[in-house]
Symmetry: C3
Subunit: 278 residues, 3 copies
Amino acid sequence: MITKEDIQNQMIQAVETVKRTNPMAGSITNTVTINFVANAQLAVGGSAAMVYLPDEGEFLAKAGGATYINVGTLLTIYEQTLPHTAKTLHDMEKPWVLDPVAVGIGSLRTQLLQQFKEYKPSVIRGNASEIIALAGLWELDGGTDVSNVRGVDSTDSVSTAKAAAVALAKWTGGAVAVSGKTDLITDGSVIAISHGGSHFMEKITGSGCSLGGVVAVYATATSPFIAALTATAVYNLAGARAGNKVDGPGSFQVQFLDELYKATAADIGNNPFEIEEV
Amino acid sequence: MITKEDIQNQMIQAVETVKRTNPMAGSITNTVTINFVANAQLAVGGSAAMVYLPDEGEFLAKAGGATYINVGTLLTIYEQTLPHTAKTLHDMEKPWVLDPVAVGIGSLRTQLLQQFKEYKPSVIRGNASEIIALAGLWELDGGTDVSNVRGVDSTDSVSTAKAAAVALAKWTGGAVAVSGKTDLITDGSVIAISHGGSHFMEKITGSGCSLGGVVAVYATATSPFIAALTATAVYNLAGARAGNKVDGPGSFQVQFLDELYKATAADIGNNPFEIEEV
Amino acid sequence: MITKEDIQNQMIQAVETVKRTNPMAGSITNTVTINFVANAQLAVGGSAAMVYLPDEGEFLAKAGGATYINVGTLLTIYEQTLPHTAKTLHDMEKPWVLDPVAVGIGSLRTQLLQQFKEYKPSVIRGNASEIIALAGLWELDGGTDVSNVRGVDSTDSVSTAKAAAVALAKWTGGAVAVSGKTDLITDGSVIAISHGGSHFMEKITGSGCSLGGVVAVYATATSPFIAALTATAVYNLAGARAGNKVDGPGSFQVQFLDELYKATAADIGNNPFEIEEV
């Protein structure tokens, strides 16, 4: 098994590469948190670009080092844009991150998420309920037919999504990140548990979405597993630091972006996590 | 007539229920302030989810304790989504809040707002010009044929919208909240005048929209009138507190979200208001 | 040639007129930074309204003192909305500001930007790569066939866009603002170079978009050249002041909005710039 030190070294390298090269990661994402996604991507050293139309999704897929697709607030044109973009990414073997927000709500969302199975997202990021429901939709181990997704919130704990996360990662050959109080990241053979964060992260909208966008930034520079773990680590670090400075969610979001920007590669590599074999 | 003390007790109970139960209030709302709406809903203890498509609107209408519909930046699909969602809410007797932003601009907006008359929103929240124009569109007392809405701003004072507000509340059997320097809330038989706020609330976009979203959160837990008054009270309280701490609109929005989060049930119940019979 | 003092007096007058009259400048703009655009317009004393549909674009074009069109996140309906709105503005000889974000990405964007040539935007604001690419698309001097636009970022320096900016301004009879480390504003015969800002402006999304929205606010009150220079000056001033107070991009955006609000007419007129003849 890969050692913790190897993982930390790869994380540090990914952070340094991103800070040095300012890589572009395009997004097709929801309108609720689109600004926060872009600002978080910029704060860690990436470059952001967002689109809605099919040929523009294809353009970003080709131009960017990685792409973020979040199915939050679907538009009708997404019926064309999302499969087209995901297919382009898969055909070109470019990394892409899927955030299956609110899986189970509405027919188009279900249709799109089913189509994504064959385009194998490099990283899937979601809360426990979303990860379990997506595994169910894809008929993989650990999934359930009945979604416990409540709007955009999880009603399951991270540990209950372990089997689903592993099954999804084995299917895609990439990685899965389950966000919650502690976060679980797996490539199907190794599981990392990352610690930190703040209770305020649930009191602002977009902690999860913007994390997905930042995973895409790191995925331009490293493997899906390291990208997912590095992004989760900087979120846990910045969340904890920001949470210690504030007493409300408005100030939290401001400080959180500042701490994303200030976190050094060493800080991020040293943020607490453990690894275990699946 | 209901006493002021009865009203205050119901307000306190509504705030406590929301803080304890984290109720979900879905929204179909404009893209300008959608992030602020969600963050304000979270700050007072609710949960947020936003959609655009018809079957997703229906899903949220059924899944949420109440729903917020804001006609700010209309998309073409809203021709289907909004009447379908409003009809679902009306048929299920679920509370919903209408924000008739910029009534009078464009044919789809007019068509949708006309359709809403029969689906009787539980709470209508707007500025004075919007309330007067909506009453006019629905051919109720106090309305005018000619809208004084200027873009999204009011050119009328709150008191001039009193007759229109009462007529709208009588028609829907719910409540109407007119936002301005002082705010007027009525259920058609009682009028409450709520005080507080800050001049900075007009210097940030979305004070009104996010207030509508917060009314929906409280409407999951109490009557339309108490929901509208409670939301207005916490806005006046948080606005005044934030306004005292800052000298610019950027800082104001940050502090305002913090104060929404920190306001206790007792604080909100004690925010100054008077009541009178219609 | 116009003297620097004349220019400063016109800038001061424009700022004072806006603060006194709260003019409305409608926008059709991207969803990433739409909230920031509105808040920036409000901070300098204007009023904001955003729409997507064709007849609503026409309404705002007629109702507002000037209009801002930003082609950032195109929706399918924009194929109708944008030419219709631009034609209305041109026919009525109303000032409008074009932000050719990410020119070169996608067929609809190219089609729309080509159509805009005949509707002659009063002010074109973009980064160096966008200005050069637009001049190329319009087959004017200083343009290139091959775009160096990378997503939404510039890969060219401001000075390299000088010929393209002058050619565009001569074609439209209005003004062009090229944003970068130092900013270049020209009406085709005079060039102003404006100084200030902060490195944090590239670390938040929407510095450029919101500047375009603020140019539109000033364009309600003065000539295209003075509007572009005044908006650039207040951005350079507020950016420098905010940048001196913060150590992260989250805090920067908050302080930047505060400083936009606090900047006086004299402050803005005195922000450093030089002029030269073309």
